[in-house]
């Protein structure tokens, strides 16, 4: 048994503990350990990805307790992929935070970030629904701290709304888990997958209630309309670097829906049947519409990016909602792409905002320092997000369209029109920020260059380019992953639940 499965959870915890204890007053040391920790996390995630690709799913039994009683972590292709995405994104985020001095603006940036990484990694790895709740709480509590990092009136207000919204979500989560436990007597996801099909007829109503509650909770995380209200305010007011890291947090919702939709409540399950898909698809379409209209109407650059994030979640959920192996593969590719694109845009928005001293989209300001480079990066981010060639957004949306080619009447126009709206919105913002500013005044203010921050942004762009260039192998890998999701037997076998019965 490989002990490395637990490492993405334990390593950040130990590092964060060390930071709080020993280097609370030494930011330099914190930065070194933070970068080293994230690098190590990348190495571990890479190794786990390799292990998951070459071997069947593997379970890790915490405390050596057998599966339905103890907590287990399960590493399969999906969780390994999400883990790799998380750690790959964490690296540029940390570098940007250091390069832009964001981590010096409040207490405990690095420990909180490590705790966030720990929570998200745990949520991706866990094979137990209650443990999923625990890791949700860990990541939420860390995100509360990060959200209001640096303080300020607007940020604190948005933070309180964010906390209130998520507390409601957490209690719904508990209700759902309690209902499921009441029906089945287990919360182990593999155990549920085995037990639910043989559930007596009288319990199916209750199970449907629990399933809808769960989907609601994950929809809150994934910013699905009508539960997206927390996202624009939160992401736009959070520090840009934190918002970039939050880009992977919304994907936790998507991940959970994929996991539950394929393992616990598959379409073949009589009690829920196609209910999940029926709920998700309309909501996803509206999400896409709301997001792309929001991009047109956004008053500040971070808000614009936040609405673009909502639109991208809408696209991802459209792909997920079909719940077939082919569409799931497209959804996974799009999730990878949209996480990187959203993070990239948040980092650029932060860079622009800090150089202009305010966030609003007005043309009354002189050009920002280094505006040529920033504009080029913004262009790359906008192209990726809107889904224009040559970056991976184009391939991602193409895959989604192809997956839905049998039902093209509603879904194709929705995706294509929303892409057009995104292009319009980004073009408006870009021309305001980078062209009209030059019409006002030729020389921008002088600002110290931030090589590390630019490197971090460049790294995200490089990630997008790599995702585009390697689209063939990546989609091939995704196809295998999606197929594995629809064949839960190896996953269940890994938990050794029914070996001795």
């Amino acid at each position: 048994m490989s002990h490395w499965i637990i490492a993405p959870v334990v390593l950040p915890a130990i590092l964060a503990g060390l930071m709080v204890m020993l280097m609370r007053h030494d930011l330099g040391l914190q930065r070194i350990f933070s970068v080293a920790g994230v690098l190590a996390l990348n190495a571990i995630a890479g190794a786990l990805l390799w292990a998951a690709t070459t071997a069947p799913p593997e379970a890790y039994f915490l405390g050596n307790w057998p599966a339905p009683f103890g907590i287990i972590l399960v590493l399969d292709r999906l969780s390994a992929m999400m883990l790799m995405l998380l750690s790959a994104l964490a690296l540029p985020v940390v570098l940007y935070a250091i390069g832009s001095n964001w981590d010096a603006r409040g207490a405990h940036f690095h420990p909180l970030m490590l705790f966030l990484l720990m929570g998200i990694a745990g949520a991706f790895l866990t094979g137990d629904a209650f443990n999923l709740f625990v890791f949700f709480e860990v990541l939420l509590i860390a995100s509360y701290g990060l959200m209001i990092h640096g303080g300020g009136q607007d940020r604190t207000r948005a933070g309180i709304q964010y906390i209130a919204f998520n507390l409601v979500g957490s209690s719904l989560f508990l209700f759902a888990l309690a209902t499921i436990y009441g029906i089945t007597g287990t919360l182990n996801m593999a155990d549920l997958a085995v037990k639910l099909p043989s559930l007596p007829e009288s319990e199916t109503g209750l199970l449907r209630v629990a399933a809808v509650l769960l989907i609601l909770v994950f929809a809150i995380k994934g910013a699905l309309v009508p539960l997206q209200f927390w996202l624009p305010g939160t992401y736009a007011n959070a520090p840009g670097v934190v918002a970039a890291l939050f880009a992977v947090m919304t994907k936790v919702g998507a991940y959970a829906i994929i996991r539950f939709g394929t393992l616990v409540f598959p379409t073949s399950l009589a009690a829920t049947g196609p209910m999940l898909a029926d709920l998700l698809l309309p909501a996803a379409l509206v999400t896409l519409a709301v997001g792309s209209i929001g991009v047109l109407g956004a008053s500040t650059l971070p808000r614009l990016v936040a609405f673009a994030a909502i639109a991208s979640m809408g696209t991802a959920f459209i792909a997920i909602a079909a719940f077939t192996p082919a569409t799931m593969s497209a959804a996974l590719y799009y999730i990878l792409h949209s996480t990187l694109a959203t993070a990239l845009l948040f980092l650029i928005a932060d860079m622009v905002t800090r150089r202009r001293a305010h966030a609003s989209l007005r043309a009354s300001d002189p050009p920002i320092a280094g505006s040529g480079l920033v504009a080029a990066l913004f262009m790359a981010g906008a192209v990726a997000m809107a889904g224009m060639p040559p970056l991976s957004g184009f391939i991602g949306k193409l895959l989604v369209l192809q997956a839905w080619r049998d039902h093209a009447t509603i879904i194709w126009p929705a995706i294509l029109i929303s892409s057009f709206l995104l292009i319009l919105g980004f073009a408006r913002a870009g021309s305001l920020l980078f062209w009209k500013a030059h019409a006002l005044q030729e020389e921008g203010e002088d600002r110290p260059p931030e090589p590390l921050a630019f490197t971090a942004i460049g790294a995200v762009v490089a990630g997008l380019v790599a995702l585009t260039l390697l689209a063939g192998p990546v989609t091939g890998w995704m196809d295998a992953t999606a197929a594995a999701l629809y064949d839960p037997l190896p996953y269940v076998d890994a938990t050794q639940l029914y070996e001795d019965r």
Binding site: N64, A107, V134, E137
Partner: protein
Amino acid sequence: MLGIAALVIFALSETLLRSPAVNSRLATLTMEKRAGDRHPMMLVIGTRFLLPVAMMVGVYIYLRGHNLPGGGFVAGLIFAIAYLMQYMASGYVWSYDRQRYEHHALIGWGVLIASLAGVGAWFGGLPFLTSGYDYVHLWPLEEFELATAAIFDLGVFLCVLGAILLSLASLSRMALRTGETVNLAPFDIDPSADATTKGVR
């Protein structure tokens, strides 16, 4: 793991306190007038006696926590209450001056001990958090069970205690910002002081 989550709460109030917006807001608040005997002698003397007793209860709860209700989390709460009584009786500043460790360090140690206790199982080739145990016979006591899970529990205990004390400290700092006066003596009225100053504030 919940103990680890609990610790992050403190950073929230910490970050909140640092923001200038909160500062200006707090400056406009006026605290209500306090009675002259905020720290009455009877309460102070009473809580002094209760402090070691409460700590004993905490240790007892911690030790019985392996197989019975109790454990590090509850013990941490009980210890925190023991300290809280001192805060109530003699005021935050007076009590804080007498604590010899940092709350942050408590939390850090807690997380570290808990994680390392889990990692320790690796060296036995067992999964994370696997608990080993043995029956120990120590002379004046009966035979009892010692489990490595208790080390993890110690980490939880430190985490909980640190998190509670730190959140209390943050709240108290908020009150101090509003111009709340502090006392450096344990009671309002010191009976051992000169009779002429008795009762005069």
